[in-house]
Amino acid sequence: MPTVSTAETPSATILVLTPTDGDAAAVCHVLNDGGFQTRVCADMAALAHAVAAAPAGIILAQEALTVPGESGGRMLASALKGQPEWSDVPIVLLATSGASEVSAWEHARALEPVGNISILERPLRRTTLLNAVAVALRARERQYRLRATLAQREEALRRVADEVAATTRIAEESQRVSHLLDALLLTAPVGFCFLNRDLRFVHINERLAETNGISAKAHLGRHVSEIVPALVEALRGVTDRILATGEAVLNHEFSGETPSALGARRFWKESWYPVRGGAGEILGFGGIVEEITERKEAEAELLLLTTELRESETRTRVATEATAVGIWEWNVLTDSIRWDAQMFRLYGIAPTPDGCVQYGDWSGAVLPEDLAKNDRILLHPVRRGGQSRREFRIRRRDDGRVRHIEAVETVRMNEDGQAEWVVGTNLDITEREAAQQELSRHREGLQRAVEQRTAELAASTVALHTAERLAALGTLAAGLGHDIANLTLPIRMRLKMLEASCTTDDTRKDFAAISKSLDHLSNLSAGMRLMAMDPEREQASTPAADLEAWCAETSQILRAAIPHHLHFQCQAPRGLGVNIPRHRLAQAVFNLVQNAGEAMAAQPDGTVRVTAEAATTAAGDLVVRVLVQDDGPGMPAEVVARCFEPYFSTKGRAIATGMGLGMVRGIVESAGGTVAVRSAPGEGTTFTLTIPAAVSGPSTDASAPRTAAVTIKTQREAALAMMFLGQLAFKTHRHLDSSAPDASLWVVESPDPSLVREYLNHHPHGWIVVLAAGMDSAPTDGGRQGTRSGAGLNHLSERVTVLSASPSPSDLRDAITHASHASAAATFRK
């Protein structure tokens, strides 16, 4: 196979094949003269071989194609087929002289598919040959030029193809990387997004979308304020900063709530960076968002725990210092003991530099009598592990004071079950011990006080119940007194009518018996009324100025206080009186009589006596002794000693309050008297009420009745004044003359002052009660004499009592009573 020349320029050699040597020489000669290079080929085979060297052209004699036994045409055609596509070696076919034109044309046509054939007829002219060769060579040169141009274009195409291939590879790689990046962002454990300059979402990964509570797709194109309105302001601050500085903002913390968890505060750490275009302009913002809520919470919790731990440590230290707890350690294996500073303070020992002490430092401080026992207690946990607690006393080394110590130890054992470390505390409990002893004493005192108060409370509860019961009984007694009065009234009326018709002794006896019974009934009613009165109201009844009358009034009710099988006597000599309201005296004596009756209830017989007698005290004062005596069992000395104590009682009865004797003493002492008791077992009991005697009033001085005058025109005031005077046993008359009356008491209406002076002058012990107009309001004239005003009269003498013109009945009563007593006292002093 011939090789084809790839030279850039064509060979200058023209191959010549002419079977006739003469032709070849002639042709070469002409051509050489013409400046062409020639090379003569011996035969077709040589020619075909030389074609591979890309000759400038071929001059071929026609007869070379027709050599017998050779297929010169095919050989040449075969060689020519081996040319490059651009190569078409020019062939000048020298037609055989004398041969038909048809033959040469046919040969040319045979080679035409592969050759560029020009036909020259022989004989050749020199010019024709040169021209044909020159044309052929020029065409040949053009082939080469075309070939060069073609080669350049191919090279350009090749480069383009290379570039296309390279670009395709880059695009494919880029796509792969893009997919990888997407996958990376999609699955990354951080949130990522890209916002344009308007803060609208251009890209967001699922992680961040999930945080925001809606899908990634739903984010796209929407403004941040639509998705996470709570964060937009903070984000705008960051993006503004990026736009201003052109630099990324890294690790910025955001907090707020998101639509996915409304109400929950969440935290994020975010890095935002500018995303730039080709010209460096900022297209938007890339954000990498990492949620750190859990971390923040953990940090907060850790901070809290740390704070608590510190506080706990502080508290422990403060508590240790405040409670004066000393701590010590004993390394059993090395037998070294260490104390903290408080231990040294507790024991009054100067601290050692390293805190180490000897056993003797401790044992020397412990009082000997406590030492052995404490060693024993401590050794127990050292042998077996666990805790021990001891109390012992020490004597401080510095001041010698004895202190009480409470010690607690914990032992740590090693794997072999041997104690290797003991840690213990010492607490000074001296003050606590003292406080406990003090507390114990207080507790005992308190207990006693509580017991006492409880007893008093129980007693007062009973008293309250009794008081309620007594109040009910009082109401009942009052009602019964009222009913008895109502019932006895018609009996007494009708009995009074029968009195005149009692003509025989028998009927008079019957009448007397019925009357006596009625009197008893009336006295009982009166006594019940006295018992029903409020003992606290001193003015509920008049004083027992006549004890004989008081005995008649109260004997029935007092009798009712003792069992029926006992005897009762109640009597007082005439002329004795005491200044105690009748009901209060009745209630006091009732208590004593009731006590006596109860003391004697078990006796088959006995007598309770109420008597009165006059006496004189050592100071010469007149007194009345009211005695309540019984011949009952009497009281032992210890009961006598306590019988007046409040709430003291020896009785089991329902209304025993212990208040009885206390009340008796209260009543008597309030009247300026005293109560005494004399009693002994088997000798009965006598209570003696010693009470100042009542001043003998005019009502008891019947021998010389005093006189009173009433000078009042108004019928009602006059009648009331006369009634009150009559009740005070005055012999009263109306005195309507314009003169001073002759009377020891004068009740007068608006008198002339001269008459008042005259009366006062003539009656040095007389008293005046004046009813004066103008006394309803306060006097304003200072009480000038000579006027008829009450104010003026009031200043005439202390013996003038001035009332209003129409005083209330009680005012009139009080004024007259006061004047009566004052007048009587003045007369008595005389």
Binding site: S522, T542, A719
Partner: protein, 147 residues
Amino acid sequence: MNETPPIPGLFMVDDNDLAAEAMERYFTLSGLLRWLGWCPDPAAAVPMIVQVRPDVVLLDVEIPGADCFAALRSLTTQCPSSRVVMFSGHAQTALIERSLNEGAAGYIVKDDPTSTIAQLLIEAARGACVLSPTASSVYMRPGSGPA
């Protein structure tokens, strides 16, 4: 010429019919007072009293369901010539005080002796103010003295 004073007329207001009947019989037979009538209801008694104009009225202080003091006030204005004496089974200072304040001519307790009651009513009819012994024992206490 000595004229025998006329026998005072008495009207009684009391829901105790036994007492009223006994009173009527006693005063009629004794001739101490003229019995002018009796009524158990104070309100109903007022017009009767205004009509018969007794010298003295014996008015029970406590009649269940009735206001005896209202009757007292009515009588002191409508029949001032009749003297009203309050009559009660209770001798209580407050009741006596109120009776006298509201114009009663006296206060008698039913326990008091019959003859005393009759005498006090006669005195009251003649213009006096009266307190029966039992009422007096309660009311004539020592006061605190005049103001």
